[in-house]
């Protein structure tokens, strides 16, 4: 393992400082906590606060999405490890501007439990806190016998939509209702070419042969559903779209938002080649892609691979919210 860092145990703290030092116009660090909050306080006045968090190692998610039109604060856990409730509570307190706070939680048991503890504490402070648990990763079977599906790159689209709603003055209940409406229409599936190496661990989460890929891998090197020989980009797109089609049942004239997300070590060049194949194949299904984005949005350290997220645009409003002005480190739209 070769990584640009000083001390594996301090990497998260140093990253948080690095973000605050590099982008003071967007984020500032909360005291000694691993919490980053929006610098432009005025932009939050009288609005519902929107927070998220979880283990780090997914940069620019989530702190890169703090700013006008998106998140109010983000709690950074250790790498791939849920943050602690005291830190989440601090984020809730700072994000509350009298209209309550909405938490976007990715479906990992550690995150759920820690955000839940924080919510209980916040309630004692008389802060109204609601939440959604994002579980867009269709690779994991959704049954009562598992923890349910994981939250992955689709979370970024959820944050974008809810951020737009919050900025437009939606109430906490409206945001909660919107999140619940969007969630079942948000699905992601990924493919890995190599696993991530957690600095404190020092070796990759799993090993793939030089000619192997694994479908359905999570963003913490969780195992996927199938390992096979590396395929051309168009075949990878076919496989991932087939899985998504099982969920959505593509129908001509369906409208979708499409997000191709790089896992960290995969160059943009490859991501664009992949997106080309995805869009061509979606066109063959007769499906409309109204919103398209390509890039590293929700990474997994130095993992190589991509994920494909589709959001079925059931409401015209959602597309408007995706295109709503936003001003964050990693996503800006006029």
């Amino acid at each position: 393992m070769k990584k640009i860092m000083n001390d594996a145990t301090q990497i998260v703290t140093e990253m948080v400082d690095g973000m605050a030092l590099s982008y003071p116009e967007y984020v500032k660090r909360l005291d000694d906590l691993l919490v980053l909050v929006r610098s432009q306080e005025e932009s939050m006045t009288n609005k519902v606060g929107l927070i998220t968090g979880g283990g780090t190692g997914h940069e620019p998610a989530s702190a890169g999405y703090i700013g006008e039109g998106m998140l109010s604060a983000v709690v950074c856990g250790q790498i791939f490890s849920s943050p602690t409730p005291d830190q989440i509570l601090a984020a809730i307190q700072t994000a509350d501007h009298g209209k309550g706070v909405f938490m976007i939680i990715m479906n990992y048991s550690g995150d759920i439990m820690n955000f839940d503890m924080a919510r209980e504490m916040a309630v004692m402070d008389d802060i109204d806190v609601r939440f959604i648990v994002v579980d867009d990763d269709i690779a994991v079977e959704d049954s009562t016998y598992t923890q349910g599906r994981r939250g992955v790159a689709g979370t970024v689209l959820m944050e974008k939509i809810l951020g737009a709603a919050a900025d437009s003055g939606a109430s906490l209940s409206e945001i909660e209702a919107l999140a619940k409406q969007v969630l079942p229409n948000l699905k992601t599936i990924g493919v890995a070419l190599s696993a991530a190496t957690v600095p404190e661990v020092g070796k990759p989460g799993f090993t793939l042969a030089e000619d192997e890929v694994e479908y359905g891998v999570g963003i913490h090197s969780e195992p996927g559903y199938r390992r096979e020989e590396m395929q051309p980009s168009a075949k990878l797109a076919e496989e991932l779209l087939a899985r998504l089609n099982d969920e959505f049942n593509f129908t001509p004239e369906d409208h979708y938002a499409v997000l191709v997300n790089g896992m960290g070590a995969t160059p943009l060049m490859e991501q664009f080649v992949f997106m080309r194949d995805v869009l061509n194949q979606l066109a063959d299904f007769g499906v409309q892609a109204d919103f398209t984005k390509v890039g590293n949005f929700m990474t997994s350290l130095d993992m190589a691979g991509v994920s494909l997220t589709l959001l079925k645009l059931r409401e015209d409003q959602w597309l408007k919210q995706l295109n709503y002005p936003v001003n964050t480190i990693a996503m800006v739209r006029k």
């Binding site: 250790q78 048991s109 439990m113 820690n114 598992t146 661990v201």
Partner: protein, 193 residues
Amino acid sequence: MLTVETIAQWMNGWTKDIKANKGYLNELDSVIGDGDHGSNLARGADAIEAALLTAPDDVPSTFKAVAMAIVSKVGGASGALYGTAFLEMYKESQRTTDMVKILDKAMKAMEKRGDSKPGEKTMLDVWEPVVKAAKRGNVTPIVIDDAVESTKDMKATKGRASYVGEKSIGHLDPGAVSSGYLFHNLFEVGLVG
């Protein structure tokens, strides 16, 4: 007897075991989870030791100090679960000094927090038989070890290990192992038997 000192002894034994087995706990977790259970708890162990250096006044505040150390340092599922357990011990110890009752309450709080029950290949599979035995007064190292071992053949349906499904069978649950350390030390200081 439940005192500031016995709790401190219990905790120091536990943190010593955690730190000595940090790598082993990580290894267990890397087979069926994400490989950080040892690192998570080791952070907590340091914090617990630091918190207990300035001895708290009474039993409840000792539990509270431990709970706060865990809550603010461990993170992950185990941080929430052990944190919840010790927060509950703090609350319950204000009402009773009966360690068995306190453990029982703590376990119930954990079940609620984790939305889980014994049989799902988690630390609860150690808590449940040990607390049961404590009620009957027959906790032994063997009871504890058997409980830890029992998780080996279970299929995980909660926590990260649930993602590997069938493949979790045949491996110990890391949280069960760390709870095993907790109870071995509790037994050694004589707080259960």
